[in-house]
Structures are given as structure tokens and as C-alpha cells.
């Protein structure tokens, strides 16, 4: 029997490709039919390949997808009129063309623009992108975003309905819209990545999948010259830098490891090099964005051989600039953390006080943790303990709780 010839995530990635190609052929109104057909192909492969694996699983799946087109054409012959021009011998030719590599990529890119269409809410965009482009099941999306299955289902249904109601087409954005539509796409990629990167759950695999998907989508966009921009390269650099230390964030004993304690030799060098390269590419374009600043900050951390070597002054300046062009609660929090690092307690306090309570949502424990650190450094032991207790109560899982309990012990012992 043949050994396992399949690369990791082949099915998941192949799913996205097949959905995109078939949707390109049949149009978005038939998306649900297409999704069922593709799912069916995978189940067939799973059963059939038990006895014998094909030489080239990817080619097999693509051929199966082609065959499905013919099946589906029969299935929707009620709408034959729409497809009459395809129902001839030219179908095969057209089909073969659709399956060429660059066409497959084009189809996937179009699907990304559909997923990030401004008619969909940001929540719907993320759910729809993970389902349609990344091949996540409803359950997997729910688990990845820490949201109920039911909610994800509703978002997907709404997204599909909007696409049909508003007659959104499987097409490139108009030339004058490319820039603003790309902004939306980058935002979704950024959010998907952050879902994976900032989560502190024990199942590292889910986080890696989310981050990996964001990187993959970004790379896909970068392949097209007309989509390239300073912001896109900067975003890619940022994701590479962050992803390089994904492994070091959680210890083998399943404990959160903060930046100061991470084993920097474990940061993944190939991603750092990719990031460096992308960051210098970003500087060659005229546009400038928050992604440039965030990438530069991440780069400063990566650059420091040891935590003690971190250039906090430079990071402070970058965060200040970021906070000016894009003021946000999490920006203020980050800025406050840097001020605490360089012992500028008063500056930190002013920023922390300006953060609206609850504004950080599930990451609210970080605000209390930061206050605790402030009071700790200021020598106000009681207040520090009080805040760390609030942080523990606001934390959403065991990993966070254990991390904070350790911190609490430290504060209690030292004062």
C-alpha cells in the first residue's frame, strides 16, 4: 500500500480552491450547491483512498472537481438557459482553462474580495472567509473564534443571503475601488491573524491554523502586482514577525510565557527573514499605514538579542505615532505597558485611566494586570493585589488564570 502522500492541510486548502473554481463557473447564487458538491468529493476520496491512494492526490481531487461540474450542470438544467453557451463541446475547453494554476489563484482572490465585501458586516466577513476560502467547518470556526456554533451559522446564512440579495458578483473590484476594497481585505486578514495570535487557549493547533491562513491569504494577494502596496507588504511583515514567535508563547507545560521570558533562540528564523524582506519592500512604496508602524514595533522586539536589549525609547515613539493616526484602547494599553517598562509611571497611569472600562472586551484582564503592575512599581501593594484579583476574575481561561496567579504571588511576596 502507498505511503501517505498528502501534505498537511491538503484537503482544507484544496477545498478553498475547488469552491473558488466552481463558483467562478456557476456564479455565487449557486454557492451552496457548490459547497455540498465539494464536500461530497472529499467524502468520496476519504473512502476510496483507503484501498489505494492516488499517485497525485491533488490532481485526483481537481479531476473529481471537474467531473462534479458536469454532474452539477445536469442537476441545474432547469436553469439551462443561463448555461446554454456552456452546454456544448466548448465546455470542456472552458473547464480546462478554469483549472489552470493562475486561473485558480484568480478565482481564490475574487473569492477573497467577495468575502470582504463591504455589504457584509466584519463578523460575517471573517466567518464567510474562514468557511469559503479556508475550508473551516462551522464547528471549527466556532472553536477558533470562541463563539457558539449557532451564532456562526447565523452569520454564514446572513452573509450568503446578502450576497444573493445584493447581487454581489464574483468579480474583481472596479479599478477606482481597488484601494478601499483592499483595505477591507487587509483588515479581515489582520483580524483572522489576531484571533489566533492573541488567544491564550491551550489548543495551540487552532491558533496556528488561523495564523497560517492569514499568512496564506496575504501571500496570495502579494502574488498579484496590482494589489501590491506598502501597506500589504507591511502587513505581511507584521504577520511574519508575530508568527515567528507563536511557538514560544506557550511553554511545553502549557503556561503563558511573556515576551521577557521567551527563549529567543526558538523564534522561527525563516519567518523573521521573510518579514525583514517584506518590511524593506514596504518602504519602497509611497503609502504609509498603521501596519508599517506595527511591523516596525514587532521588528524592534525581534531585533533585540535579549529582552534587556530592547530599544524601548524607539518602541515608545512608534506606539505614540500609531496612537496618533489610529487612537484605540488597545493602543493606549500598549503604550502604557512601554511607559511602565521604562519606569515612567505617571505617563502610564494617565493612559490607563483614559481606557474605557470594558473597551478591551475579552482582553480586559490585561488592563487590570497593567494597573497591578503600575501599583506594584509605585509601591502600592494593596492596590496592586486588588487589581491582580480583578484581572484573575476577568480572565477567560485556565492558562491566563495561572499566569496571573503567579504574578499575584510575586507581588504579594516582594512588597
Amino acid at each position: 500500500m502507498a505511503e501517505n502522500k498528502m501534505v498537511d492541510h491538503l484537503f482544507r486548502h484544496q477545498y478553498g480552491k475547488m469552491i473558488a473554481i466552481l463558483t467562478n463557473f456557476f456564479g455565487l447564487p449557486h454557492l451552496e450547491l457548490v459547497e455540498d458538491a465539494v464536500q461530497d468529493t472529499f467524502i468520496k476520496a476519504t473512502l476510496l483512498w483507503r484501498a489505494e491512494q492516488p499517485e497525485n492526490p491533488e490532481a485526483w481531487l481537481m479531476q473529481a472537481a471537474k467531473n462534479r461540474v458536469i454532474d452539477l450542470l445536469r442537476q441545474i438544467k432547469a436553469e439551462k438557459d443561463r448555461f446554454h453557451k456552456l452546454d456544448t463541446e466548448s465546455t470542456q475547453e472552458q473547464l480546462d482553462e478554469l483549472f489552470l494554476d493562475h486561473e485558480v489563484e484568480d478565482s481564490q482572490l475574487r473569492m477573497i474580495f467577495v468575502a470582504c465585501h463591504p455589504a457584509l458586516s466584519p463578523e460575517e466577513q471573517i466567518a464567510f472567509a474562514l468557511k469559503t476560502i479556508s475550508g473551516f467547518s462551522m464547528k471549527e470556526i466556532a472553536a477558533a473564534l470562541l463563539i457558539k456554533d449557532e451564532t456562526i451559522k447565523k452569520r454564514l446564512v446572513r452573509a450568503r443571503k446578502t450576497i444573493i440579495d445584493q447581487k454581489i458578483e464574483f468579480a474583481w473590484p472596479e479599478p477606482h475601488q481597488v484601494e478601499s476594497r483592499l483595505d477591507g481585505v487587509m483588515q479581515v486578514i489582520y483580524l483572522i491573524f489576531n484571533e489566533g495570535f492573541h488567544s491564550t487557549r491551550a489548543e495551540k493547533l487552532i491558533d496556528q491554523d488561523l495564523c497560517g491562513e492569514a499568512l496564506r491569504l496575504c501571500k496570495l494577494l502579494l502574488k498579484k502586482e496590482r494589489f501590491r502596496s506598502g501597506s500589504l507588504y507591511a502587513l505581511f511583515a507584521l504577520l511574519c514577525f508575530h508568527a515567528s514567535r507563536l511557538e514560544s508563547k506557550i511553554s511545553p507545560e502549557n503556561e503563558i510565557v511573556d515576551l521577557g521570558q521567551q527563549d529567543r533562540s526558538k523564534w522561527y528564523m525563516p519567518l523573521i527573514l521573510l518579514g525583514n524582506n517584506a518590511l524593506s519592500m514596504a518602504m519602497g512604496y509611497p503609502d504609509y499605514s498603521a501596519y508599517h508602524l506595527e511591523a516596525a514595533i514587532a521588528h524592534e522586539h525581534i531585533r533585540a538579542i535579549r529582552f534587556e536589549n530592547t530599544d524601548w525609547q524607539r518602541i515608545l515613539e512608534l506606539y505614540q505615532e500609531l496612537n496618533e493616526i489610529q487612537p484605540s484602547d488597545s493602543g493606549r494599553l500598549n503604550l502604557a505597558i512601554v511607559h511602565l517598562q521604562i519606569n515612567q509611571l505617571q505617563e502610564a497611569k494617565i493612559l490607563l485611566d483614559a481606557i474605557s472600562s470594558g473597551g478591551l472586551q475579552q482582553r480586559n484582564y490585561l488592563l487590570h494586570g497593567c494597573y497591578a503592575e503600575y501599583f506594584h512599581l509605585a509601591g502600592q501593594r494593596e492596590e496592586a493585589l486588588q487589581q491582580i484579583q480583578l484581572a484573575i476574575e476577568a480572565s477567560s481561561n485556565e492558562l491566563e488564570k495561572n499566569y496571573l496567579l503567579k504574578k499575584k504571588a510575586k507581588i504579594a511576596g516582594k512588597a
Binding site: 500500500m1 498528502m6 491538503l10 484537503f11 467524502i43 476519504t46 473512502l47 476510496l48 483507503r50 467547518s137
Partner: protein, 114 residues
């Protein structure tokens, strides 16, 4: 040496809505099991079966359309292996991948005329 048939009973993958990632992961386990038996030189054949089918029965040769049982009890396929005893096959069947989906394995000895 005797031959035994391992008959796989459990839910069909269509029914339980596995994601592409889960399907691939599950397939990897089937590969691993098949490879292991092949290396041991005990695998004599096997097939996977579709859920749909027909049944012909009774003196009237009545034809009916399946599936005929609840999806949990569907026969999904079989392997034939060579082994000394039922106990040995029970050991072999430990690697069946779908126990966690409430699937199971039925072991039957193949009758030999010799």
C-alpha cells in the same frame, strides 16, 4: 492460518458533517492502519462501501431501496486479514480509526473448505 473478516459498522461520514481537515486527519489514520497490516503481511483485501444500496428478498424477490438500518449501524466496509485466532484479530482491530465516532468492528471467521 485462518482468515477473518473485520466488518466496519458505524455512522457514514456524510451524516456527521466532518470538515475537510477532519476528513484528511481520519484518512491518515486509515492509511496508517492499512500500512501496518500490509507490513505485517496479514492483509488479504478489503473495500469501502457506499451507504446507498438495494435489497432483494423473499420468494417474491422483492426489491427495496436502502439504506435499511439506522445510520449508526451502517456497514461501511471490510478488511480480510490472516490470523491465528479471534483474540489476535481483536488486537489488530484496536487500530480501527472510528471508535470515537461510535463506530465498531465485527469480526467473523471466513469458512475454508479444505
Amino acid at each position: 492460518m485462518k482468515e477473518f473478516m473485520m466488518i466496519f459498522i458505524g455512522p457514514s461520514y456524510e451524516e456527521i458533517g466532518l470538515s475537510p481537515e477532519q476528513l484528511q486527519e481520519r484518512m491518515g489514520r486509515w492509511f496508517a492502519w492499512g500500512d501496518k497490516m500490509t507490513k505485517q503481511g496479514i492483509l488479504r483485501g478489503g473495500k469501502a462501501l457506499h451507504a446507498k444500496g438495494k435489497r432483494i428478498s423473499g420468494p417474491g424477490r422483492t426489491v427495496s431501496d436502502g439504506p435499511f438500518v439506522e445510520s449508526k449501524e451502517l456497514v461501511g466496509g471490510f478488511y480480510i486479514v490472516e490470523a491465528e485466532s479471534f483474540e489476535d484479530v481483536v488486537v489488530i482491530a484496536q487500530d480501527f480509526p472510528d471508535y470515537d465516532l461510535d463506530g465498531g468492528v465485527e469480526i467473523r471467521e471466513v469458512i475454508k473448505f479444505s
